[in-house]
């Protein structure tokens, strides 16, 4: 088996499900957005505007709990549809 060939398959990869690449890329974007948003700390490390007594820093991160959940669910649906009938 050749070392230079990652996943070194000498036979066709016919048991990898057919994949719609564009949808996989879209799913990756959905997954990357929350990570980038939360690691970009200077974008939210401030007090104003506050909401219900909560400084911006805190309510913004709580908001991302829901946004991230939504993005991840969207990514899940995209991956499922990208792989066609096979999950």
């Amino acid at each position: 088996m050749s070392l230079g060939n990652p996943d070194g398959a000498s036979r066709p990869d016919i048991d990898v499900p057919p994949t719609d690449r564009r949808k996989i890329v879209a799913a990756c974007v959905c997954l990357a957005v929350p990570v980038v948003a939360l690691l970009w700390v200077p974008s939210y490390a401030r007090e104003d505007p506050s909401l219900g007594g909560f400084p911006f820093f805190f309510w913004y991160q709580f908001l991302w709990v829901f946004l991230c959940s939504g993005f991840t669910w969207t990514a899940f649906k995209l991956v499922q549809s990208a792989r066609g009938g096979r999950r």
Partner: protein, 559 residues
């Protein structure tokens, strides 16, 4: 204050709370023993059944199990404690950490699930062994996982201790009376883990998570109005964090990460998120799920726990506004008592009991899963690999069951004989160490470009560097292991040591891979095939392969 039976005569014992606590503890004990009948197997004498619950858990069981597993009692005690004493950078990073965690595991966990399902892997070290046929790299991964898990189990006991201490038990001078409740709790835990395996924490997790949600939501709705509202709470926290620390003259902590703290906040979040699913207990809970997509669905619904964790973190600041006194039974200040104490100050005794039970039971679920996971790692990757190559599945399961007892006994000894600070230090080190297995596990799920010897070298360099760095961190209370932050070389700002070590690990791995590939050094053989990383539960090839490892046994079933 040394009464002959300290726990009876101490006037501060909260009897009602204790009765409720004990009653709820008995309920979960019964559930734990009955759990062996849950989705009953013919026999529990294999790692698949005892150690992974038969790999059959659906979306909701997995949700409770993973929630119960990842959000541990120690988290519930330590995060508000960090908020209370050091502020947002030390405590609130847990929120971004447990949010970005889920996109990260979404990406790779389905692949790990599939390849593990296809080849019967129980641990990540099993996978590494199959991917490279390299016993040393596999041993490095398994030992790191095992060693990193031990102090984590010990810290669950610290969570129980904090509750017992505020309830008025466990802090006295009488060594037996002091430790007896903990000993009993752990003996019971050990017994039902031994008999029911992973099914026990799976069932108990329902109770634990329900209690946690109820307690925290009630607390967050009720407490702020008692101390003057959220404005008052954030105001009090801001004042406390800005006030200079009498010892150092520097501000006590951070209200919101300021200049020079952004990297610390971000690297703590990212590093912890990447590390969490390298721990054996997270992998065990994930692999016990019944299909490839269970874990992906869970990635979308598990953040519910992160929301609760964020609220819990803020309880540390509610305590600042409430002026909670964290003096322990030994007369010393102990911030870890902050949440139990806050509850005792504001709630009726019976509800205090419910809250304490939530934390104590919250310790049992992860402690059970961690000990099962560590035991599986031992029996699969150390016992079978190095000590008894011909071990049958029955022998594997037997060794694992016994090891789960040894691991718990060790954790107990650790907490009872050594200073609690040691467990915290090792836990800190464990987080740094476990992240160094990330390249060997996660990168290898996608590619075999990396060389197995380079992965091993990168791992070693990361561990040594991280350990040395962590040793050099002093804090107000200790000279070494005083925290997880150190200056990032070349940047000047503080950052999470595990991430700096990880970056170094990566550089070493890439450079050495280039060299070793050029020298055409053998990179081992790979028993996995591309299709394995997409296999699902109903895959007809799985069972055939598990019986006779024949990779070409069956042709694929679609055009």
């Amino acid at each position: 204050m040394s009464a002959p039976l300290g726990l009876v005569t101490d006037s501060s014992v909260n009897v009602t709370a204790l009765v409720v606590l004990v009653a709820l503890f008995l309920v979960v004990t019964v559930l734990g023993f009955m759990a062996s009948r849950f989705r009953r197997a013919e026999s529990l004498d294999s790692l698949d059944e005892w150690g992974l619950g038969g790999r059959r858990f659906g979306t909701w069981v997995t949700w409770f199990l993973l929630g119960g597993d990842l959000y541990t009692a120690y988290t519930f005690v330590a995060v508000p404690a960090a908020m209370f004493s050091l502020g947002a950078v030390a405590g609130f990073f847990a929120v971004p950490y447990t949010i970005i965690l889920y996109p990260i595991i979404f990406v790779f966990m389905a692949r790990l699930w599939s390849v593990s399902h296809r080849h019967g892997y129980v641990t990540t070290a099993d996978f590494v062994r199959g991917r490279y046929d390299d016993r040393t790299l596999s041993l490095a991964v398994s030992v790191t996982g095992f060693v990193a898990t031990m102090p984590y189990i010990a810290l669950q006991l610290v969570g129980i201790q904090a509750v017992l201490e505020v309830a008025g038990v466990g802090g006295g001078d009488n060594a037996l009376a002091k430790d007896l409740p903990l000993l009993i709790a752990f003996a019971v835990l050990a017994a039902y883990t031994y008999s029911s395996g992973l099914r026990a924490p799976a069932i108990i997790a329902f109770v634990k998570d329900a209690l946690i949600y109820v307690v925290i939501i009630v607390a967050v709705v009720y407490l702020p109005s008692q101390v003057g509202g959220w404005d008052e709470i954030f105001g009090a926290a801001k004042d406390k964090m800005a006030a200079p620390n009498p010892a150092t003259g520097a501000p006590t902590g951070s209200f919101i990460p300021g200049d020079g703290q952004m990297w610390a906040y971000a690297t703590l979040g990212l590093g912890s998120a990447m590390a969490l699913f390298m721990y054996p207990h997270s992998v065990t809970a994930s692999l016990s799920s019944g299909s490839r997509n269970t874990i992906r669905r869970n990635a979308a619904i598990l953040p519910a726990y992160s929301f609760v964790l964020g609220l819990l973190a803020l309880l540390g600041w509610v305590a600042i506004a409430a002026g909670t006194d964290v003096t322990g039974l030994d007369g010393e200040k102990n911030p870890q008592l902050v949440v139990p104490q806050l509850f005792e100050d504001f709630f009726p005794d019976w509800f205090v009991g419910v809250a304490f039970a939530a934390i104590a039971i919250g310790a049992l679920v992860p402690a059970a899963i961690m000990s099962i996971a560590a035991a599986n790692t031992f029996s699969r990757n150390i016992y079978k690999e190095w000590l008894n190559k011909d071990a049958t599945p029955q022998q594997e399961a037997k060794v694992s069951k016994l090891m789960s007892l040894v691991v718990k006994a060790f954790a107990l000894l650790f907490v009872l004989t050594l200073d609690k600070q040691n467990a915290i230090n090792f836990q800190l080190l464990g987080g740094i160490w476990i992240l160094q297995t990330f390249p060997a596990i996660v990168f290898s799920l996608y590619t075999r470009w990396f060389h197995r010897k380079a992965l091993l070298a990168g791992w070693a360099v990361g561990i040594v560097y991280g350990t040395v760095k962590a040793y050099g961190v002093a804090s107000a209370s200790t000279d070494h292991f005083g925290g997880s932050l150190a200056e990032i070389p070349g940047l000047g700002d503080m950052g999470y040591i595990a991430m700096t070590a990880f970056a170094l690990n990566l550089v070493v791995t890439v450079v050495l891979t280039l060299v070793l590939r050029r020298l055409k050094i053998d990179n081992g053989t790979d028993v996995t095939r591309p299709g394995d990383y997409h296999a699902d539960a109903d895959d007809p090839r799985v069972q055939a392969d598990l019986e006779v490892e024949d990779p070409f046994a069956r042709e694929p079933d679609h055009a």
